[in-house]
Structure formats: C-alpha cells, structure tokens
C-alpha cells in the first residue's frame, strides 16, 4: 500500500517524470490508480480492446506475443501506450512474471494527461525513439 505522497516520491525518480515539478507530480499521482497482480496474472491481453497505460512500480512483467516471451519489463518501465495512441488492441500479452505493482492510467485519460504535461510527452517520445532504434538495430 502506498499513499499519494509515497507514489510521488517513487515516480519522481522515474525518467518519464524527470522534468515535472512536485505540484505536477502530485496532480498526476492523483490521476493514476494503483494496481497489483499476482505472479502469472495477465495485465494486458493481446487482441482485446479497452486496455490501459501502466507504469511499473515494483516487480517484473513479461511481454508475450503469440505465446513467445519477447522482453522483460521492470521498475520504471511502462507499457500499453502504443495501443492507446493508435486506438488498437494491444499486440502482446503483458504477464506478471513476479508479483507486480503498477500505476494505471485508463486509455481515455492518456491523451489529456500527455497534452497537459508536454515534458512527460517528450520523455515518452524519447523512450519510443529508443525502442524504435533498438528494433531497427535488431532487424539489421
């Protein structure tokens, strides 16, 4: 269990929120909800509509596509944003590979939060650019 103050302290150390001042962090922390998943639970489901954006506070999650594990996500990583930004169902299952605690922002809230917090949007864009770069390196 974490209070809002504790959540603010935690997310302040994440790269995604590095450019936000405390009042902005408090406001954002109030908009997210905390969720916990036991090991083995599916957080996002490949092909199912209506997913959400998650930031991992504790634990690990596996990215599973068509039954094959492709990557592991850990504290500070985030997932779910691609399907929300594109308005599509997730392209992968996200499965808790250890007990997982996340901050969750519902799909419809993602756009207003990003538009209200340009530094957050910029950091997310940077993260996506890194993922794209790494994917291109892997392909080449």
């Amino acid at each position: 269990m974490a209070s809002t103050d504790e959540i603010v302290d935690q997310i302040a150390s994440f790269a995604l929120f590095a450019d936000l001042a405390t009042p902005q962090l408090e406001r954002i922390a109030h908009m997210f909800e905390e969720a916990v998943y036991p090991e083995g639970a599916r957080v996002l489901r490949q092909g199912l509509s209506g997913s959400a954006f998650h930031i991992i506070l504790d634990g690990e999650a596996a990215v599973v596509i068509d039954g094959d594990q492709r990557a592991t996500l850990a504290r500070g990583d985030f997932f779910g944003e691609v399907s929300i930004l594109l308005g599509e169902a997730p392209g992968a299952d996200i499965v808790a590979s250890r007990p997982l605690r996340t901050l969750v922002l519902s799909g419809p809230q993602v756009q207003p939060v990003l538009l209200d917090n340009p530094p957050l949007m910029y950091r997310m864009l940077q993260a996506q650019a890194r993922r794209l770069r790494n994917a291109n390196r892997w392909r080449s």
């Binding site: 109030h30 905390e34 969720a35 916990v36 036991p38 092909g47 199912l48 509509s49 209506g50 519902s106």
Partner: protein, 525 residues
C-alpha cells in the same frame, strides 16, 4: 480446500429459543459482517446448502447503511415503476438496492419502502430494506460479536484460520470478510488532526454561517458541499487533480450528477470555490484555538502558495479497509483504500482460503476496459459477485455441481439475445461478469452459468476450458452500452462487439443477424 458441506448439516436458521446463533467453535465457512455483502453471500451459500456461520460486530443488519451516507440519501437508485414488472429478473436492472433471492416474496424489497420523494432511497429506507430481507429469508447472524484478531491454526479438516472474537474463537478453513471499506482515512498532511473526517461531520445546522474547507473532490466531498450549501457562509473544495464528473465520464466514475450543485454555484460565483491544489498544511491562526484555521495550499498549475482561512476543515479523503491483522497472515493490500489484492474469485491473492465479499470485492478489479470499473463497490455489483463466489466455493468443495442446462442448437441465438436484453448480472457488471455457454461438439451447447470475465478469458474459471461462447455487456465511456461476445477456441480468445443501439434494443433484426453470424463462427448453425 477442505470439504465444506458436512453430511447431516442443517442450514442454520434463526434460533428459536432466543439463543444467539453460531456460538464459537468449528465451522466449514465463517462470514464476517452484516452489511449487504455479508448477507448476500450468506443467503447464496445457504441456497447451495453450504453450512456456515455469520458473525458481526453490529447489533443489527445494514452495515454502513446504518450510518451513512451522512446526508441520509443514497447514490444508487431504485425505480418503483420500471419498464418491466418487479417480479421479472430484468427488474434488477432498475433496482440497484434490493438483495437477490429465489422466492418472489423475498425479492425486490427496496421499492416497497420508498415514499415517492426520490428514486434514490433514503438511508433509513435502505436500512429497512436490508433488515426486511434478513427477516423474510430467516437468515441467522450472530450480532454483537466483534472479530478482533486472526491467526493460523489446525482445525478438524486440516489447515484453518482462527478468528478471535469478543465471544470466543471461531475455527474455519474458509473465512469470508465482508466488513466494508469503512475505516476513515486521512492523509499525513501536517496539521490534519485539526480537521474533522467526513465520518465525524456534525449535523448540518451546526455549520451555519461558517467557512468550510473540504479536502477532497470525490463524491463524499461533494455530498458534504451539497448538504452544507444552505448553511455554510463559504465552501471551498480542494485536491490536486480536477474532479471527474460522472456526466463527463459517462459512467459511475466521478462525482454523481445529484451532487453537481456546488459546481454550478462555483461557476456562477455564489460562494463555492473549487481548487486544484495540494494541501501543504493546516495550522491554527493567530487567534489560537478560538479563531479560524489557516490552510496552506499549492495550486497544481503552479504559482504562489495560498493561505486560506477557514472556520472548519473537513477531510473527505475516503476510507480504508478494516482488515485488522490480516496483513500479518500475508494478505497483501494496495491503493489508498488498502484493498486486499484478490484473484478473479475474490480470494486473497496471497493467502488462499481467505475471501472477500461486499464492497471490498472491488479489489478484484477485472479488466477495467476503457478505464471503466465494475460496480463491485456498490450493492448492485457486489450482490452478483456474492452469488458467483458462493457457487465457486461450492464447486471447490465438490459438494455442489450446478445445473448446466443443455441448449438446443436452434435456440442458441435466442438464448444469447435473451441474456443481452435481460441479464442483470451482465448489465450491472459490464465487462466483469460473463455468461458462458460451452460448445462441446459431442455434447452440444450448455449453459455454464456466470463467471468472472478475466477468469473465463484465462481459462481459469469454474466453467472449465472447453470451447465456449462468452456473453457480456460492455461500455466504453461514450455513453454506448453494447454487447460483446467472446469466442474461446482452443484457449485462444476472439472478441466480437455488436453495434450499440441508441434505444438499447437487442431484439432487432440487425442484432439477431450479427449474433447469428458470431455463433456460426463457433460452428453452431
């Protein structure tokens, strides 16, 4: 899990000799609580023949409705005059407050007590509704028996829990806690001890002419603001993020429409202010204990700290779950409400054998598709969860194999359409509970009953893992309510949405054609 239904056990009714029921001892199941959640799960367990004890710290049934909402009017409606008759199953769509029963005389009790002044029952009407249900169904509850501690022990059937109470010890392999989310929570803001909690709000007239600062912009904060409008000189509500309004989210997420008057007052400059700001501290002013308080806030949008004078500060900051020492047994919790982490079947995710019912069940969040939660935190959601939970416990005990009626292939589309039109479980627990129809080619279609959607999708539900059709109602925050059918084939899930109908009709040729096409995908024609 141990065998729960003991041969020769009678379902326990009210004691006929004025002795309190369920004295301390060994029980297959112990339910803690006497609010709607505990009562519904007890009724459902009894209907399945599962012997159990029910204990409660309260002197009478009703749970939180014996005291709240503070301004004595519920947020959940019951429509005495609905589009369908009160005896119909579909009436439950329009009656959010009655508990579920099999006998007609025990159903739809809430509208019997409503006086026509509102379709939101008053708190006393709701309390009477619950007490009448207990009386008519002859449910037995041991009142004035407070659960005080918990430990592990060895019962006659193996591992068990020992619940210490003010009356003695109860041993059970299965404990179901339905104790509400009812313990006042206040944040660790400096000076918070100078604020009263919502739970300690005084009669409204005692705030006459006062300047009220309300911390929190959720329903409880706006309930207070609405109720104090005729009395307070000034009202200010503050919290870091903007208030969500149910009319904007097009769901039950956010401040309900009947509490919006303070918003109108705010935008028209009538004396109510609504701030997006974090609360830095609450301090006594220069006049000391007899003078106004100073609340220091930091606007979320930035800018200078504000120092706001108030005669009274009320923390409408919510409640936490009173789980006593369950954390010491390993029950993990999360979120500000300290809800226990739960499986799809409302069992502690970390301590098997401990279950939760009533409003605590919202800790089993399900998919929350499109950000919309189930209604598990309210009676009209929790009552169905309780029934599914009882059936789940019965299945695990292997003492009860539910009826699984066969469905003729020619009737399948009509059965699906009938559920879409009338099934209250699916309407109230959207994208959370699912009606499952298994489609084993060697047997035919069978109604497997209602299970949690997330369990169905994972093949972990009581319906099994057979190829099946799952029927749900869903919403996406656009005001549309529409059916979604899930096709589970060899463990793989496909989702098929049916276009919403603006008049919520599901007997149209277009819907029939769409459902028939989806059913045909499962190989049934």
């Amino acid at each position: 899990m141990a065998e729960l239904s003991l041969p020769g056990d009678e379902v326990t009714g009210p004691d006929r000799h004025n002795e309190r029921p369920f004295p301390p001892g060994d029980y297959p199941i112990v339910v803690v609580g006497s609010g709607p959640g505990a009562i519904q799960v007890s009724y459902s367990l009894r209907a399945l023949g599962l012997s159990h004890a029910v204990i409660s710290a309260d002197p009478a049934p009703g749970g939180m409705f014996r005291r709240w909402p503070f301004f004595q009017r519920l947020l959940s409606w019951t429509k005495p005059y609905a589009p369908v008759d009160r005896t119909a199953r579909a009436y439950e769509r329009y009656d959010w407050n009655s508990l579920l029963a099999d006998n007609p005389g025990e159903r739809a009790i809430m509208p019997e007590f409503m006086d026509g002044t509102s379709y939101f029952p008053s708190r006393p009407e709701m309390e009477r509704n619950i007490a009448t249900f207990v009386e008519r169904t002859s449910l037995a509850i041991r009142y004035n028996c407070r659960w005080t501690a918990t430990r592990r022990g060895d019962g006659p059937t193996g591992d068990s829990f020992v619940l210490t109470t003010t009356d003695g010890e109860y041993r059970t392999p299965v404990a179901i806690f339905a104790v509400g989310v009812a313990e006042p929570y206040a944040p660790a803001t400096p000076g918070i001890q100078l604020a009263a909690h919502y739970a300690d709000t005084r009669p409204a007239e005692t705030y006459a002419g006062r300047r009220i600062f309300i911390i929190g912009k959720q329903n409880s904060g706006f309930e207070l603001a609405s109720g104090l409008l005729p009395w307070a000189r000034r009202i200010l509500l503050a919290s870091p993020s903007p208030a969500k309004l149910s009319v904007n989210t097009r769901s039950l997420v956010g401040v309900r429409a009947r509490y919006l008057q303070p918003f109108e007052d705010h935008v028209l400059g009538g004396g109510v202010s609504i701030l997006d700001a974090s609360i830095g501290s609450i301090e006594r002013g220069p006049a000391g204990a007899d003078g106004p308080l100073i609340v220091r806030v930091r606007p979320s949008a930035g800018g200078e700290e504000l120092a706001i004078e108030a005669d009274e500060v009320i923390a409408a900051t919510g409640f936490v779950t009173p789980l006593l020492d369950l954390a010491d047994l390993g029950v993990t919790t999360f979120g500000q409400a300290r809800l226990p982490a739960q499986t799809a079947y409302w069992e502690s995710a970390s301590v098997p054998g401990i279950f939760f019912a009533g409003t605590i069940g919202q800790g089993s969040a399900g998919l929350k598709k499109h950000g919309l939660p189930a209604n598990s935190g309210a009676v009209h959601g929790a009552r169905y969860n309780a029934r599914v939970l009882a059936a789940h416990i019965a299945r695990r005990a292997s003492s009860h194999v539910p009826e699984r009626p066969l469905i003729a292939p020619a009737d399948l589309v009509d059965v699906v359409l009938g559920e879409l039109a009338a099934a209250p479980e699916l309407w109230h627990q959207r994208a959370y509970l699912v009606r499952v129809i298994s489609l084993d080619p060697s047997v035919g279609a069978r109604d497997e009953g209602i299970v949690p959607l997330s369990a169905f999708l994972d093949g972990a539900g009581d319906d099994g893992t057979a190829d099946s059709l799952g029927i749900t109602m869903e919403a996406d925050g656009t005001a549309a309510v529409y059916p979604v059918l899930y096709l589970r084939r060899s463990g793989k899930i496909d989702e098929r949405a049916v276009d919403p109908d603006p008049l919520l009709r599901f007997d149209t040729p277009a819907v029939r054609s769409r459902v028939a096409d989806i059913v045909a995908e499962m190989g049934v024609r």
